[in-house]
């Protein structure tokens, strides 16, 4: 299980090792976009952007579809799900930890209120 997860994430995170590619994913998270529009947005040549999109496509993070002369890019579900699951896992670990922290802080607050009452007497 762990090994399988690891292998898949390695591919995804290879694709994510570049700031532009991460930016492209963020952008596509908001709306689908053509390669031309992405190139403009990230101040790159069309060829440069095609390469980045190609890497994301191979990792399953992005899918593209050519309609007429425009190639539209959108987020690929497979890669995105794995990425989301990976970060969700990390999030849940911390969430459980913070739930315990809440209890400790609640106790400290209660103790302060009790101590405060004692001092006021």
């Amino acid at each position: 299980m762990v090994q399988w997860v690891q292998a898949n994430f390695d591919v995804s995170f290879g694709a994510l090792s570049d700031a532009t590619r991460r930016g492209v994913l963020e952008q596509l998270g908001r709306a689908d976009a053509s390669i031309t529009a992405l190139a403009q947005k990230f101040h790159m040549t069309l060829t440069g952007m095609k390469k980045h999109v190609g890497v994301l496509e191979q990792a399953g993070l992005v899918t593209t579809e050519k309609v007429g002369s425009v190639r539209t890019c959108r987020l690929g579900l497979r890669g995105l799900q794995e990425e989301a699951e990976w970060i969700e896992r990390y999030r849940q670990i911390w969430s459980a930890r913070f739930d315990e922290l809440d209890k400790v802080v609640e106790n400290l607050k209660r103790k302060e209120r009790v101590d405060g009452r004692k001092k006021r007497k």
């Binding site: 994430f9 995170f13 990976w86 970060i87 849940q92 911390w94 400790v104």
Partner: protein, 171 residues
Amino acid sequence: MDERRESEAAPTKNHTSAERRSERELVVTRTVNGPARLVFEAWTKADLFRQWWVPRSYGLTLLSCEMDVRVGGGYRLAFRHQDSTMEFFGTYLEVTPHSRLVWTNEEGDGGVTVTTVTFDDIAGRTSVAVHDLYPSKEAADAAGGSTGAMPEALGQLDELLVSLRSTTPTP
């Protein structure tokens, strides 16, 4: 008045968010319902820290927790996981009461991880941000399923997540 408040149902848990900010960085944020003064105390006093750092459901036993919270001071946590013992240790690089803590994790083979925790008090509630800078992309990747390079615990964490999913509605 206090009695009334204490008898109320437990407050709704705040949302925890997690983000991979770069290939080596993971950031977790959460608001805690208490002033930074108390939240900071819970992060810096060993007898309090040990009550929450390892949630009971992890299946790990915290054997010892030593924390010398001052710049240059060290910490050491020892856990038992099934038959093995794990140790986590490092050094505090920055200690700014109620607002900022920075420490290193030095137990990993692949280099040092630096954890920066900031506490931002907003009208009696505290926004906590935990920023982990890993020595490599691989180390950060591995952290996704563990708590700071704890591969042995992965199996148990899987179980934890399954139990969490079965008891809480998926957002």
